[in-house]
Symmetry: D2
Subunit: 485 residues, 4 copies
């Protein structure tokens, strides 16, 4: 009987992007940057670069980790050039087709262009249908290819005009990096759902999803790309375009809650400290009579530390994380106990036995893993288990690039607080409030009319139109007829 970890119960980001302009070792810098962004996507990775000497683009895309693919002299001998962009892709089930790995490339009449994209377009299927009607041939199922076709078919003359033309037609969440023969382009959606930052390494311009990719290279953080901004990086420097009408922005709260690396800085705030503050506020809002605060490692550690600080309860590593996780194991069918086996976590009995335990995690998605961990902690002898989620209940789906279970699989969308308490098998259950989350992020209350952050997963209030989804509701979309190698 197969078991374990098909239910590994975390939200997943759709990707990490990186770009570097005019550096003799552009591809090596990109590999290092992607490595620092590995937490944003582990399924596949790719690097495209442009070699001024030969006028050729090179593109290598592989399934698996950056550190398993972009290592050794050989691959970088092939990835010649002094500008490059790169991409990490999030894991899904099954081996991905190479054609669905980014960056993707096209030879336009005005020259080559490579694009990498983090996010999800909310009108890509309707755009795609229009393009196919007009004779476009798609090679992948990625919405990034829609952008490429829009650029290719734009009747503008200059590549920057075409790029603006293309992205003014798309909606949703995106952070884009694009590479042409003469420029590196970065763009962020008008709402600012997906993050993108600008860095500088001794005069070389860098774009990256998070600041931790600058840190690994010893590059300075310059600023975030603004929502709706397009930056054009050329030999003349960094030019900023803001072609879109101003509108209220709403960066995604999940970057703070789970996606970003704790050592990254978002909107001037330390992700680590924001999570610590979530834990502090959580203690304030949902205090429990207990003996010890235990994080679900690694994502729950900062919030558990914050909870410990605010509550005065001791912080202990009551759950050990196993770093060697391979593929799915086979479970023995014999024997009386079978429930508490986990490939990834093991209980630290000395901490748990006989104790009243506050268990802190960043969030609850489906709830299955949380349930298993609770059972494991009880099996290790805990007297009471008080589960605390450092984010509010997740009740609504995302359409901007978070890989999320179906609404009917979200625990908080389907069960009452009491039901969840019972299903998880805990003595008490607590969630951070939405206002508490806003406080943790930066001392502000939520603006009910125009929320400062994208918090739709907690509130159901979406920051953009959802065109594809509306179509889904009115009639069945033309299905793709292609399953490929």
């Amino acid at each position: 009987m197969m078991f374990w970890d098909h239910d590994d119960d975390k939200l997943r980001e759709e990707c990490g992007v990186f770009g570097v302009f005019r550096h003799p070792e552009a591809s090596i810098l990109t590999a290092l940057g992607l490595h620092a962004l590995q937490h944003r996507g582990q399924e596949a990775c790719g690097i495209a670069c442009f070699d001024e000497a030969t006028g050729l683009f090179h593109n290598e895309r592989h399934t698996g980790l950056v550190g398993d693919n972009f290592v050794g002299k050989k691959i970088f001998d092939r990835l010649k050039g002094n500008s490059a962009i790169g991409h990490n892709r999030y894991p899904t089930q099954g081996t991905p087709a190479i054609r669905n790995i980014q960056p993707i490339f096209a030879d336009l009449d005005c020259g080559g262009i490579a694009i990498a994209h983090n996010g999800n377009l909310t009108n890509s299927r309707s755009l795609r249908r229009t393009l196919v009607d007009r004779g476009a041939i798609f090679q992948s199922t990625m919405d990034t290819e829609v952008i490429l076709h829009l650029i290719s078919r734009s009747d503008k003359a200059r590549i920057t005009e075409r790029f603006v033309d293309a992205i003014s037609q798309i909606e949703g969440g995106y952070a884009l990096v694009a590479l042409t023969e003469h420029m590196l382009i970065g763009a962020r959606d008008p709402v600012g759902l997906r993050p993108l930052v600008l860095g500088d390494r001794d005069g070389t311009a860098i774009l990256a999803s998070e600041t931790c990719a600058l840190d690994i290279l010893g590059a300075k953080f310059v600023r975030e790309i603004e929502p709706g901004e397009i930056v054009i990086i050329t030999d003349q420097g960094v030019e900023s375009l803001t072609p879109f009408q101003r509108r209220s922005t709403a960066p995604c709260l999940f970057e703070f809650v789970y996606f970003a690396r704790p050592d990254s800085i978002i909107q001037g705030r330390s992700v680590y400290n924001v999570r610590r503050r979530m834990g502090m506020k959580l203690a304030e809002e949902t205090m429990a009579e207990a003996d010890v605060v235990v994080p679900v490692p690694d994502s729950g550690v900062p919030a558990a530390l914050g909870f410990s600080i605010a509550s005065g309860l001791p912080f202990e590593m009551g759950i050990i994380r196993n770093h060697y996780v391979g593929r799915t194991f086979i479970e023995p069918t014999q024997g009386e106990r079978q429930n508490s086996i986990s490939k990834k976590h093991s209980p630290n009995k000395w901490v748990l036995e006989g104790k009243r335990v506050v268990l802190v995690d960043d969030s609850i998605v489906r709830g299955n893993t949380s349930k298993k961990i609770v059972q494991m902690v009880r099996d290790a002898g805990a007297k009471e288990v008080h589960f605390r989620s450092a984010s509010p209940p997740i009740k609504f789906p995302d359409f901007y690039g978070i890989d999320m279970p179906n609404e009917r699989d979200l625990m908080a969308a389907n069960y009452s607080h009491e039901e969840m308490t019972q299903l998880l098998g805990v003595d008490s259950l607590g969630f951070l409030s939405v206002d508490g989350l806003y406080w943790a992020v930066g001392d502000i209350d939520r603006d009910q009319n125009s929320p400062q952050y994208a918090d739709h997963c907690f509130t159901g209030q979406y920051p953009t139109r959802l065109i594809d989804r509306r179509n889904d509701e009115t009639g069945r979309d033309a299905q793709l007829s292609f399953l490929d190698d």
Copy 2:
């Protein structure tokens, strides 16, 4: 020091194609058909099929042989469907990108289409340039993709009209098979340069490059697709379209000389017997005083048998072919003799020693392998070596799908008969005459104004315009800026 067989000195066909309509094991039949056509291309192979039950196309493409890839239950579980097309690709240097393996597929507004193509278009580059100017994005460097874009952008309504629209714009040599949801399409260029036959297996229609692919399935040969004909195979049967203006046809002689399998039937003639007749005529035209006739195996065997019959000289296997040929070996640098080592052929001393040998091969291309074999035969003790080519001197390049060395590498294009005799190190050298070749193919003389066959490699008389080539001569073509994974 590396050596051996980089100079394996044969012309190469660009491919074999196969298609089957409405058979519950369409993909298995296609794998077997491709296996029988393996001699037409060993670099890569692919099968695309359509599954009526799910409305999905499936496509699997691999480098290497059919028998190494399309075996086992698993792959055919994936290749569900009752119609399929397949393709074998000829070997070139380097590992090919999967994106350059056929069949290729596109999701059009009128439904999916998969295409496989044997041949070469003479105006693909100019068509491609126009398409890119109009915003098309190419994913491969194959000219087959040009056809797909022409179909995709045709403003006709029905798929058959679009198909006709597309191929009326292309020039060159081609045998095409295409698969849509409701039909299997076959097409042959107006000149008939590349072959395509129609077969029937208990009511199931089959298309294949050669009859040997019908034989392996126990299918009956129905007829050749006519030059310029398009056949539309649907549930209603086989419909024939001949949209092009009649013109004189000229099937490629090299199918008889080298490409086709000896057990295939072309234009009602046994390839084996045509080759045997080449040898008979060759003996008549270029008789030599000798003791024994020895073929260069395996391609020279039928002609050598014919030579033996017509000359009365005994036929003996004086050269043994090694069936286990792997990759390139490393040659030892030490020792006094190093020239006569061959991975593929070895001399049978008992036959050769002290003899006057007539060595018969199908053709001479670059001449390097011939030279090596002559030396090998001499080293084995032959007293005299009389080399006989069962085809005329190859002096001109092909542009219709034969993978041929550059003109400056064709031995007969650069050297006189005497020079060749000396370069090859033979006592005498003989070629079949062009008229002799026509006799062997079918008792007819060559029509000097409108040759019945494409014989441009021997005569320089090309059966079509050569648009890309003309452009090459007037100005350098825009180079592709893309080198990919």
Copy 3:
């Protein structure tokens, strides 16, 4: 230029072992047990089992992790049987030969036997030489094979007698599991250098290096195998032999310091708590004026928590560990700063900037990684760095199964406290005292004449004779003449 992590500066255990007797899914249990012991060896793993139904032994050995190799139904269909043993091997440089992976097997006249071994023999080379002189043929370079030959050549009749005969000839550190047709055997060296525990899963006997391998299976911990004890597990139950003369025992302190998993129990003591106590004592012995206590993750975490508790200084995760570590990266050569790049750790600036930091790690071996981390912490803005090692200075080599650098590479063996402080670039440096370590392990002082633990790495006092080493000093040993596939 290659860089990174060749200097990953930790001691390495030689292995983990596991055995299970009479369970219908013996191999699956063994795979899970080995997975829990993965921290003891990541280079290779193997499982040998005996199938009563067919009377056959099966053995599968692979390089890489358990979770990458022993997964899926297929491998367990091959590994039929109801008794099994398994082994994890520590990583060294280069791909290991399969013949050097355990378990190893021999067909003796009295039946088959498979053996797996954690540890290192101090007289294996002299035994090996004697055996080769007497005609034994060795297939591996493992000292485990010596044991197999000693069993094979013993003139005793019964397999248990032969086993005792064999291990009474070996010296050094070992925990052995062996499987024959009718029994599972476990043995621990007389000094108790390497650990071995006995567990029970619903009546099924289990042997394992650590208790965490029992926990993952829901098995109960029964007791430790005593130093010098041999347990014979048969259908009749567990029989205990103690064939050796009593002597003072000295389990290895490094199990507490670094090797064992924190959730394991050794000699009745929680490894996690022992490490926490090391940190507490360390604070007491080496307190520093500082703002924050930061662990080097993950090994330094429990000691840092202890330091924080005892010192009252706040505990913060000032260094983030990257879980995605692949092979060696290429470092960019351009740019002014290159020193603080690390694949595995990144600084959490918000914690470190402007702070006086106490950095806590489990030990200092070569010192290179420590030096890099210190520099990284300084680059992130720390005002002062006070390095604290939760174990005493490592000054002497180990010969009982710890993979250790050469004596001349051990920092503390070559430099004074002041020199180390300067080399590491820290404001102060502190080590736990040997007595402090004894306190942490269990409230006792060190017995100077007969130390309760093997502490030779800190004190130079070895608990056994070192025969091979003595031979090394008197004359060069016969070198093996074999390098294999």
Copy 4:
């Protein structure tokens, strides 16, 4: 449904061996020699060499063909040294364990030794049992390892004495090459069942199974190693030992019938010509009224040529061999005809249709493939099929290294001439007589008391004792308890 070629119905040789002494590119020469001997074994191959500079042996063993494994600079950089031996292994079912691939190596007290072996010992199991009783540990199931243990345990001092000591204990058929630090050794069994020749390449001594391995290197054939002879090749030259009592010799006839390459010379006779003479004699003995002689390619070609010469009937290639044979295909289950599909052979209708065909093959083993080919020829329209085997009926098993089906699967051992005629579906069936075979090999009649050749497969008269077999008949042998990775 799986089909095809599991019944590929040829006898298989157990191996090819090769050795070279003191040549700077010993391993490269060995790879080339093994390539020329590839027909003797395609399952696996290995090369062991000795590097005087470092005093180290190197050994690389791989499954698959020489040309797929021993190519490229890298492997030869590892295989340093100026003496080497090599081995090709015949194919069996299943992937072979690396430990069962030769050469095998042992570190003896007197230095290292590598051995490669073609043949089969008839007393290896009883020797093995004795050795295991005396404490020897076997790592493989190859009888070659028995020889290694006998050498290792010999109480003689010098390696040559030990070698003689060892092989004086073994019985059966063998051609051995062995490599030590100072010598290359060759040995052939007293009966001369397996072949071994000595060559010379510009002063470098070479040992090989067949002369074709000398030809590929441009080496001169010096002489055959005599039955029962041991040659010791050192820097002092070639020394010959004949330690065994003279007895009548009997080289194996199957080398002439099928195993050897046609361009090899055995006992001064061209294998090609011997086969041609078999065909001539076959025509004389079993003439048929027919129109054409058709060989089963490739093995039947020389005999068919001989048949054509002696009978006056025309020789034509009526069956085409497909060179691209991969793994087992899946057969379509639909359709009325399914029998005549073959992956390896296809009928050449033009030759066969309406003809009375004499089909010539080298031998009939099980008969299944012959039956399929006959059906294929009939399906192609042959009016009559007269099957002729160029060797006598195979009625008895071999025990000296030929991989042969069980006696109950040998067609001629189980059926009368009439039954076989009917089972094969032929109009007439003919076999060469035993005396005819002797005539073909060299103009001599068979000596009934002491046959000049090993012809036991035809006559049941075995040239040696069969110890293991006798034991098999008296009691069941102790089975090996080991199935390994």
